[in-house]
């Protein structure tokens, strides 16, 4: 089956592009085949009448809303015969039926599309489709205003894997956890399926007519002055264009945009650049010294993949001198874990710290610093730290350092950070100012204005395309209140809302329009540095979703154009030479982005005089002992991924907690408050009370408590998210949305059971995740020498090494190297592995029983004092021992060794004695204690990677080094008569790692990077002394501490505790 878009858009061109993508186009196919003819015929006879399908599908509302499974049970995804054995002729028929059913599912979704569109089986298979071979399509995903470039793998018309687009300037092949797990949401059976007005299912035609009459009426009456739109931050050129057209049609209508973060930086830069929309781009590759003021730049900010890549390169001694990262933060973040010097302090103290550093640096920064220092006095004992940082920053030289302020920090801190960068001469070097891809004010103040308008009765129609604003915004913004049925202003308000799920917001709206997943429709967007991506769909809408662009286009009161048409029309308009538009379009779609669309640098330099107002306008947060911090979650973000079970079950990188959030405290604070992990506590803040469970994190700043947003979901149909964790938005305020003082936490009765994938955080002095200052590696102390001998010395023959060697010197010798210096612990690899290898999700209860199934885990150890430890991350998956302890104990030969050194797992043969796992010193094996893969709905089954067995109950499994990828590469190599090249084969975890911490290849080829890394001075084998001879090497993590703060000797101990 081809990707759906080929149906709508004619036969794909035969030209091959960089990814061998089928190029889609709307020009008539050169040689129309039967499919093309049928489609043309259908299009010509298109009838926009409703055909009454809406009523016939929904027999009653109870059936529709009652159970989410109802739809799938009553309307099978696959037609009759699709479950016949896929052999011979039947296999072909299966593919055809599969394709037809999916396409029909989409075809019936929109009555405005040709309703009698007939799909015909292939009489001639399109050239790009070979059943069994994957196809790759470039697409894109937008989160928080940043559009990343992705490459989607499709199997027989089903997208099964999301990877980064290797050519995209930000992704460069990598993808983060969100981007990858986003695929699961496409198939999520709890996605909304019904377009409804109130409780009545409606056809799209009715919606269209309603909007048309509304637009017509308000355009003539008042120019749309009573119409409001609430959108996400709009980075998409098409959406901006539609917005402009709507404004043209309804000149008095207003657009507001809401965003879960990134408003302070933009606001600061607007002030500094006299009202221009400006964004700052950071270049970590040039920065020798980095000071992060509560900026989790490696993970929490849009476009972080580029930061990780550049930063990781500077942590690798093979690539030259190491950089040095100073980090000041309250909670332990991923970036904090990478820091050479991490300063724990309250979030509100960061301003004081910034001011002190600015003062020490002098220049343009010093003038701002005085005012700031008055607002946030710095603790005396931090003076030493500040001096060390300041002299280090200065010593680095102009343009060789970088100061970056966190998104949770107020504008004053951002202003200071920019001023320090300016004073250090970093402008245009490590910090570049560009025209912001998102040229609008966004944030909570925007929504506040909207709510005030509604309260004053100035709004008749509100269109919400922003993600679930009732949930994500603090309750005191008041959106939920004005939308609730009993608010006096509500009666005259007509609210339209489009979303993937029936969520907290949809409970309050008049019209709910199920949205198309971005992989189901056409779209565009801009990355943080401005590059425009074109997102193409991989599949027809599975659940009748409507693209956002089509919804907005309804307000133009023009004849219907599908999203594809809208997008092409817009970009045709942008192309100066219309003649070569087709060719350009094809290359844009094929490669996924438009070259040379990166934003231009802004003219002029920042005016720090204007910044004084930002510092002056800063009001210090409420005093009081305990500071309350809110953060966007590493897993569910602001709640939009809460229904994604891959992310819910992903261990939180720092706490290793799954399926929950908690009030995080430092050990001393917990002791002072008499709280133990798992205790329930009452959090009082601003007159509001909330009962939350407590968890203790080593290294969390004293007298602060951090709670992640996005949990405690109560959406109508979000079955995965429902009841997971605790919602803290009720006590959050729009005035201090990220942190504020004056909270109290008191122990109350009760306890709470968390599920963690790692419960012991000390290494117990064992040489496991090695971590040392670079100076120690270069001149090892006796103690270090002893440790190094233990992890990489010669094995004692006859004692540690007494089995016969196998000769692996011919052919491939697969091996892996994992660089702990590069690994941030972001967990993108874990999600990649889950998607690639069909790894089941087992739920909180099973994880609590220690039965998580992830093949790849990231061990997180703290070392040093409990209050102020260092953190080290260590990805561990099957290390493919040459002398594997698992193999000789299996009674049925279910785990055996290949002559290329793979430790193969034969699922079919496994009877499940679990002896192999007991004897595995790395404990990387995972057992299907229950039938975890049972009960998948039809759409969920479409997600499965057909190259990997879906495991049954009672079977052991583990990392295979992505053997299916090896075999695919082998087939290609054999066809092309060459050996497998390094570039042709990447494991899923390696492929997605932005830090390039994981390298895989054949150890018999000395030119391969993996061989070089395995022989690197830092390489060692985990539990080497057992004589298991792992094929995976870990590379010692090196730190680059400032000797002024950390005397060289102090760091030689690892895992001291």
């Amino acid at each position: 089956m081809p990707p759906m878009n080929t149906k709508r858009d004619g036969a794909p061109s035969q030209e091959s592009s960089s990814f061998a993508l089928p190029v889609v186009s709307d020009r008539p196919a050169a040689a129309p085949d039967a499919v093309g003819e049928a489609l043309e015929h259908a299009a010509a006879n298109a009838d926009s009448a409703e055909h009454g399908y809406g009523q016939s599908y929904w027999r009653s509302l109870e059936e529709k809303l009652g159970t989410s499974e109802y739809m799938e049970e009553s309307r099978p995804e696959f037609p009759v015969g699709a479950d016949l054995p896929p052999t011979g002729f039947i296999r072909r028929e299966f593919m055809q039926l599969l394709g037809a059913s999916l396409a029909l599912a989409g075809a019936t979704a929109c009555s405005t599309r040709p309703a009698d569109e007939k799909l015909l089986p292939y009489t001639k298979t399109p050239p790009e489709v070979t059943p069994g071979n994957p196809l790759h399509y470039a697409s894109a995903m937008t989160l928080s205003g940043h559009t990343s470039g992705l490459l989607i793998t499709a199997r027989e018309g089903r997208p099964v894997k999301v990877e980064g687009n290797p050519d995209h300037p930000v992704n460069q092949g990598a993808a983060c956890t969100f981007e990858q797990a986003w695929l699961l949401s496409l198939y999520d059976p709890s996605r909304a399926r019904v377009l409804r007005q109130g409780k009545t299912p409606r056809a799209q035609r009715v919606l269209n007519e309603t909007i048309a009459s509304l637009v017509g009426k308000s355009a003539s009456e008042n120019g749309g002055s009573r119409v409001r739109f609430l959108t996400e931050a709009v980075g998409s050129p098409l959406t901006s264009d539609l917005r402009n057209h709507i404004i043209k049609k309804l000149p008095n209508a207003r657009f507001h945009s809401a965003s879960s973060n990134q408003d302070t930086q933009a606001e600061t830069l607007r002030t500094l650049f006299g009202g221009q929309h400006v964004a700052a781009l950071y270049d970590f590759s040039q920065a020798d010294i980095v000071l992060s003021l509560d900026a989790d730049f490696l993970e929490s900010c849009p476009g972080n993949l580029r930061n990780i890549r550049e930063f990781a390169d500077r942590r690798d001694p093979r690539k030259g001198k190491l950089n040095r990262l100073y980090m000041a933060e309250a909670r332990f973040s991923i970036t904090g874990g990478m820091a050479d010097h991490r300063l724990r302090l309250k979030s509100q103290e960061v301003l004081g710290l910034a001011a002190a550093v600015a003062q020490a640096i002098g220049g343009s920064a010093a003038s701002l610093a005085g005012a700031a220092a008055a607002k946030s006095p710095l603790r005396g004992e931090l003076g030493n730290w500040v001096q060390a940082v300041a002299s280090d920053l200065r010593a680095a030289g102009p343009g060789r350092s970088l100061v970056i302020a966190g998104e949770r920090q107020p504008a004053a801190v951002h202003a200071l950070a920019h001023a320090i960068n300016n004073a250090l001469g970093n402008g245009d070097k490590t910090v570049r100012y560009i025209q912001a891809p998102i040229a609008e004010a966004t944030g909570m103040s925007e929504v506040r204005t909207l709510v005030q308008d509604i309260e004053a009765g100035r709004v008749d129609t509100l269109v919400i395309t922003a993600y679930n604003p009732v949930f994500t915004l603090p309750d005191d913004v008041g959106l939920g209140k004005v939308l609730s049925k009993d608010h006096p202003a509500r009666a005259r308000l007509n609210v339209l809302y489009t979303a993937l799920y029936e969520d907290e917001t949809s409970a309050h709206v008049d019209w709910f329009i199920p949205a198309a997943h971005p992989l189901e429709t056409w779209g565009d967007g801009r990355s943080v540095e401005g590059t425009v991506s074109i997102a193409q769909p991989l599949i027809q809408p599975l659940f009748n979703g409507m693209p956002e662009s089509e919804l907005l286009a309804m307000f133009l009161d023009e004849p219907f154009r599908p999203a594809y048409q809208l997008l092409r029309d817009y970009w045709r308009g942008q192309t100066a030479n219309a003649a070569d538009f087709e060719a350009r379009w094809e290359s844009w779609v094929a490669q996924g982005f438009i070259e040379n669309t990166a934003s231009n640098p802004v003219a002029g330099s920042p005016d720090f005089g204007a910044a004084a107002s930002l510092v002056a306008g800063y009001t210090p947060p409420a005093s009081g002992d305990l500071e309350l911090n809110f953060v966007n979650d590493y897993k569910v973000y602001d709640g939009r991924f809460a229904n994604n079970s891959w992310l819910q079950e992903l261990p939180e990188p720092i706490t290793k907690m799954v399926w929950d959030n908690a009030a995080l405290l430092g050990p001393d604070t917990a002791k002072a408050l008499n709280l133990a992990p798992g205790d329930m506590a009452e959090l009082t803040y601003n007159g509001q009370k909330l009962t939350v469970p407590v968890w203790v994190v080593p290294g969390h700043a004293d007298n602060t408590v951090t709670i992640a947003l996005g949990y405690g979901r109560n959406g109508l149909h979000e079955q995965v998210a429902k009841g997971v964790g605790f919602n803290v938005n009720p006590i959050r305020t729009s005035k201090n949305p990220w942190f504020d003082g004056g909270a109290t936490l008191t122990k109350v009765r009760g306890s709470y059971k968390f599920s963690l994938t790692q419960t012991h955080w000390r290494m117990e002095n064992r040489p496991i995740a090695l971590d040392m200052p670079i100076s120690e590696l270069e001149h090892p102390s006796t103690e270090t020498q002893h440790t190094l001998h233990r992890v990489k010395g010669e094995l004692k023959p006859g004692i540690q090494d007494n089995l016969v060697d196998f000769d692996y010197s011919k052919g491939y010798k697969w091996g892996m190297a994992i660089d702990l210096s590069r690994c941030t612990g972001c967990s993108a690899c874990v999600v990649a592995c889950q998607a690639e290898n069909n790894i089941p999700v087992v739920g909180k209860e099973q994880v609590g029983r220690s039965r998580e199934m992830n093949w790849l885990r990231i061990d997180r150890y703290f070392e040093g004092p409990e209050n102020d430890p260092k953190m080290v991350m260590q990805p561990v998956m099957c290390v493919h021992c040459e002398k594997a302890p698992c193999e000789y104990v299996c009674p049925v030969n279910a785990t055996v060794h290949s002559d290329e050194g793979l430790n193969d797992m034969v699922y079919n043969r496994c009877v499940g004695t679990r002896y192999c796992s007991n004897n595995c010193p790395y404990k990387v094996r995972r057992f299907n204690y229950l039938h975890y893969t049972a009960g998948k709905t039809a759409t969920e089954k479409m997600l499965m990677n057909p190259d990997v067995t879906v495991r049954n109950r009672g079977v052991m499994e583990k990392c295979t080094y992505c053997v299916q990828r090896i075999e695919r590469a082998r087939i290609d190599a054999r066809v092309n008569k060459h050996l497998i090249k390094e570039a042709d084969l990447k494991t899923a975890c390696q492929q997605t790692c932005a830090a390039q911490a994981i390298v895989f290849g054949s150890l018999n080829d000395e030119n391969q990077l993996v061989t070089q890394l395995t022989e690197d001075v830092r390489a060692y084998k985990l539990l080497h002394e057992l004589g298991t001879r792992p094929r995976t090497s870990h590379l010692i993590r090196v730190r680059n501490p400032n000797t002024a703060l950390e005397p060289a000797k102090a760091a030689t101990k690892e895992g001291s505790h």
């Binding site: 000789y888 104990v889 049925v892 030969n893 009877v911 002896y915 796992s917 007991n918 109950r953």
Partner: protein, 466 residues
């Protein structure tokens, strides 16, 4: 039995083992009485109890088979828990039977005569209980037969390097030989039952199992040879079975499992627990069956001596494990023995084990304790608990904290785990009660033979005196 306890004699002297006032007839009556007599209330109550426990086994096994072994508490890292603990425990309990029957027979320990049938039955039932677990504990029990070497169409054989395959051979051999040994020993007594049967049905059934035994000289001759051969066959089994079971652990590289001392230490532990179980069962049974004349306090005392001896070997095993952990200065071993076991999450179980297995048997240094029925009974139960704890400590504690602290985890049993464990106790009890009801609990022919020998010896003695 005041008359026997009064004069301490050399245990090798059989004279006082059976009171002299019995003749063949009275022995027959005494020893067959419990078969012919209608079971009393007590029997029915006990039978009801064990049958209900057996019901739990049915519930637990059915639920396990239906849902998968995820209904147990096992996890990663603790892949084995109650399943293998109970397996090893039951196999260990079975050891007394083989030891008493085979080794003591070969060493011509006459005092074994009264208790061998009892112990052999116990062995058989214990091995049946044990055998359930390896089958049930696999993730896909319907494929468990892949552990047997058979010419499969897959062309795949078991992996002979795996101790689990050795287990298959060891346990199945053990079960077969034990069953044969027990049955062969039963044949003359079944014939006696047949001959004293009162109904046709009884006669037919016992007659069938008596295999036409007529008690001719030729029968006796063949019987004796067969019995001795079987004894010879089972003698290595006493050592081999638990040695092989201990290989399940010793062959691995897990700290706490990987120890060369395991085979002797496991065999001693097995005999230790087996004898304790014999005491636990025989004390009430001999009272109920009125067999105090045949199973005398001397028997019990001798068994207590074995318990003391094997208990000391087990204690030595513990000591050596700790010594080697210290002497090798292996970081992982050191953690397992000195930190994890003694102070870790399962420290309570560890100290209970020390109390039951190391301290308790030492009371048998004192004759008063050796001969006091209530004390020995309580002590024997303590040893049974202690040996169960030992397997828990070896299996669960070692697995829960091994090499990489990131993977450490806690195991908690679920209700299904308990159901199955209690269920096997029920199965064992049920089978045992049926055994007491339908088969003579003491080897009548052997007792008679002993009686005859004693008389003959006494006669010769008196004759010689003249």
């Amino acid at each position: 039995m005041a008359e026997t306890a009064a004069t301490p004699l050399d245990p090798l002297e059989p004279r006082d083992l059976i009171p002299p006032h019995h003749d063949d007839k009275s022995l027959n009556e005494t020893l067959l009485d419990h078969v012919w007599r209608k079971p009393g209330k007590g029997w029915f109550m006990l039978f009801g109890l064990t049958l209900s426990a057996l019901g739990l086994l049915v519930v637990g096994v059915t639920y396990t088979l239906a849902r998968g072994i995820g209904v147990w508490g096992n996890n990663q890292p603790v892949g084995w828990a109650f399943d293998i603990i109970n397996f090893v425990w039951w196999v260990g309990i079975g050891h007394a039977g083989t030891l008493i029957s085979a080794i003591l027979l070969l060493f011509q320990q006459k005092w074994r005569t009264s208790i061998n049938r009892f112990a052999e039955a116990m062995t058989l039932f214990a091995v049946m209980c044990a055998g359930l677990f390896p089958l049930l504990h696999t993730g896909r029990p319907w494929f468990a037969f892949w552990l047997f070497p058979y010419p499969s169409t897959l062309g795949a054989w078991p992996q002979f390097r795996s101790p689990l395959v050795w287990d298959v051979f060891a346990i199945s051999t053990y079960l077969t030989v034990s069953a044969l040994f027990w049955f062969v020993g039963l044949i003359p007594d079944l014939a006696a039952l047949r001959d004293s049967s009162k109904t046709k049905l009884q006669r037919t059934i016992y007659g069938l199992f008596a295999l036409g035994w007529r008690g001719s000289g030729r029968h006796w001759h063949n019987y004796k040879i067969a019995y001795l051969l079987l004894a010879g066959l089972s003698t290595p089994l006493v050592v081999s079975v638990h040695t092989i079971v201990s290989f399940d652990f010793a062959v691995s590289l897990l700290p706490g499992w990987h120890a060369t001392i395991f085979p002797p230490y496991f065999v001693a532990g097995a005999v230790f627990s087996g004898f304790a179980m014999v005491i636990t069962l025989i004390v009430p049974a001999r009272k109920y069956l009125g067999l105090r004349d045949v199973i005398t306090d001397r028997h019990l005392e001798n068994m207590n001596k074995v318990i003391l001896a094997t208990g000391l070997i087990v204690s030595y095993g513990y000591m050596m494990e700790h010594f080697i952990a210290w002497y090798s200065q292996n970081q992982f071993e050191f953690w397992t023995f000195y930190v994890n076991r003694a102070t870790g999450p399962y420290a309570g179980v560890y100290w209970l084990m020390i109390a039951c297995n190391v301290i308790t048997p030492n009371i048998f240094w004192f004759k008063k304790c050796r001969t006091s029925v209530p004390i020995m009974w309580v002590a024997s139960i303590a040893v049974n608990i202690g040996m169960w704890c030992e397997r828990f400590i070896i299996i669960v504690t070692s697995l829960s904290q091994d090499f990489l602290p990131s993977s450490w985890g806690i195991y908690t049993p679920t209700w299904v785990d308990w159901c199955i464990y209690i269920g096997t106790l029920g199965l064992f009890g049920t089978l045992f009660l049926l055994f007491l009801k339908f088969v003579p609990a003491v080897a009548i022919s052997e007792v008679k033979e002993l009686q005859l020998e004693l008389k003959h010896a006494a006669h010769q003695k008196s004759h010689g005196a003249h």
